[in-house]
Amino acid sequence: MADPQVVLITGASQGFGAATARELAERGHTVIATMRNPDRDAPALIEGYTGRIYPQRLDVTDASMISAAVTAALDQHGRIDALINNAGVSLFGAVEEITDEELHHILDVNVVGAMRVIGAVAPSMRARCSGKIINVSSMAGLIGGPAVGGYCASKFALEAITEALRYELQPWSIQVVAVEPGVVNTEMLHGNLSAIASVREGRSRYQGPTEALIKGLRAAANRRQGPRSVASQLADLVEIAEPLPLRVPIGDDAIRISQQRGLMTDDEWEGFLTSLRDEGFPGSYFRVVEEQGVG
């Protein structure tokens, strides 16, 4: 059994975050599970894990709340061994129609949000010359696709942050890792799915293919697994004593796609991706474009 670790995880109210908090608690670790609305979401999460999961109010867009939460966690538990930057939002819609505010919001949560929490936690890790920072990226951090450009932009940026930070924190023996889950059945693709205004209002020039993509992705998610593989992989990364790799794809689809992308040139990859017509990402999009054309 690995020594009990103190882990702070953001966005723990549902999805990857909740599953990972529970998995870590199962394995005997102490989890500071942060979320925007603990009054509403914490009771369900901590049921059966009192004294192991500590819910904490935290909004990654609010710097003062982050600093207060991290201070409180350090006061109570003495240290944070691992930080899992999991909080994130999605954005569906063609690049042409994304508004400034929409792009700023997804960056503010998915990229700057993670950087804020890192900024608050890193000093205590540097002081102990130890720690792990695990950023939950996505396959969309390694490949681009139609109707998810804003989301890709945020995850590509998070990948770059991870890689640079890895070099910067190495001297203090702090390890920085990005994980890339594939398509997983969570609320991110259902109740929490967020689309740009033009799509929500049904007036997008790309309405047909974007709706098909969302529908296809949801159908694919329903055919696929829940967040347990992400939870066990993250918990393993927290526990592992050896040096961690820079990137860890999670799930058969992510492992397979990252390998394929690595072997192909841009042209080969583009040819492969645009040939897809199956239900899901990005086949559903291309199929509708092929059937209906563009306006």
Binding site: R228, D252, R256
Partner: protein
């Protein structure tokens, strides 16, 4: 949510097999958990899942026990949706010091055993229109290391028959898929770890290196996570309706990175790295110890 599947797993007394049986049972599937000694190991694995887990004896080197396990499956469920060939063990020893008997025994379990199981499962799966066969290989199938040569041979052999049957059984809707765990803290490095007679008797030509490397492997393994991730990944693969499953799924950050590193290097680069690295641990310590002796012949 995936429909309830009927899954038969071998080698479920401990480790990844036990974790997988319990993970699948927890998700509501019907599990036939097979092991060599159900009286001793069964109750612990089955605890809490008595309603949807059958524990039964199956030694993959014993055809009659295989027949009995499949007869039970047929009789109780009339179908088999997935077979997980997990039973296997590790041998440790210099290749030429392993006896005929040692070599035969590990092939009998790790390779012939899987072929026997697939031979028994295929007709049942074909009958019901298809199925999935997950064969548990290892990081060692692609990272061939000294002192594990015979074990690696069983796993590369397993990779070959898995890939071939994947092509051959496609016509029946049966998907064969390799799952490659890395180093997992299981009995594999202790109880299910068969050290060569030469080493046990203290007469191996590599005695000291073997002892050092064995300690290293066990030290690394003790700091590794258990088999849960493998269990979850296999349960996911069984539930996923996506077609087709990948041929090979490395599981765990160590296997993913090791496969990527090996694939990115030519054979020459790889070998040069091994002979020149100053890293410690297995297998690097072996190369450090052998470097001088090699240099006398090859510069």
């Amino acid at each position: 949510m995936a429909d309830s599947k009927v899954v038969l797993i071998t080698g479920t007394s401990t480790g990844i097999g036990a974790d997988t049986a319990r993970e699948l049972a927890a998700r509501g599937h019907h599990v036939i958990a097979t092991m060599r000694n159900p009286d001793r190991d069964g109750p612990r694995v089955q605890a809490g899942f008595e309603a949807n887990m059958d524990v039964t004896r199956c030694d993959v080197t014993d055809q009659s026990s295989i027949d009995a396990a499949f007869a039970l499956t047929q009789e109780k469920y009339g179908r088999l949706d997935a077979l997980v060939n997990n039973a296997g063990y590790t041998t440790y020893g210099a290749v030429l010091e392993q006896t005929e008997e040692e070599v035969h025994r590990v092939f009998d379990t790790n390779l012939y055993g899987v072929i026997r199981m697939m031979r028994a499962a295929a007709p049942i799966m074909r009958e019901s229109g298809g199925g999935k066969i997950l064969n548990v290989t290892s990081i060692a199938a692609r990272l061939i290391g000294p002192l594990f040569g015979v074990y690696c041979a069983t796993k590369t052999g397993l990779e070959a028959v898995s890939e071939a049957t994947r092509y051959e059984l496609a016509r029946h809707g049966i998907q064969v898929c390799l799952v490659a765990p890395g180093i997992v803290k299981t009995d594999n490095q202790w109880r299910s770890f068969d050290t060569s007679g030469a080493f046990n008797d203290g007469v191996s030509e590599y005695q000291e290196t073997m002892q050092g490397m064995l300690d290293e492997v066990r030290k690394v393994a003790s700091g590794r996570p258990g088999g849960r991730l493998n269990a979850v990944q296999m349960a996911d693969l069984i539930e996923i309706d996506e077609q087709p499953l990948p041929l090979r799924v490395p599981v765990g950050e160590d296997t993913i990175r090791a496969f990527a590193n090996r694939a990115a290097m030519s054979d020459d680069e790889w070998e040069t790295m091994l002979w020149t690295t100053d890293q410690e641990g297995y297998p690097f310590g072996f190369f450090k110890n052998e470097r001088a002796a090699r240099a006398q012949h090859f510069g």
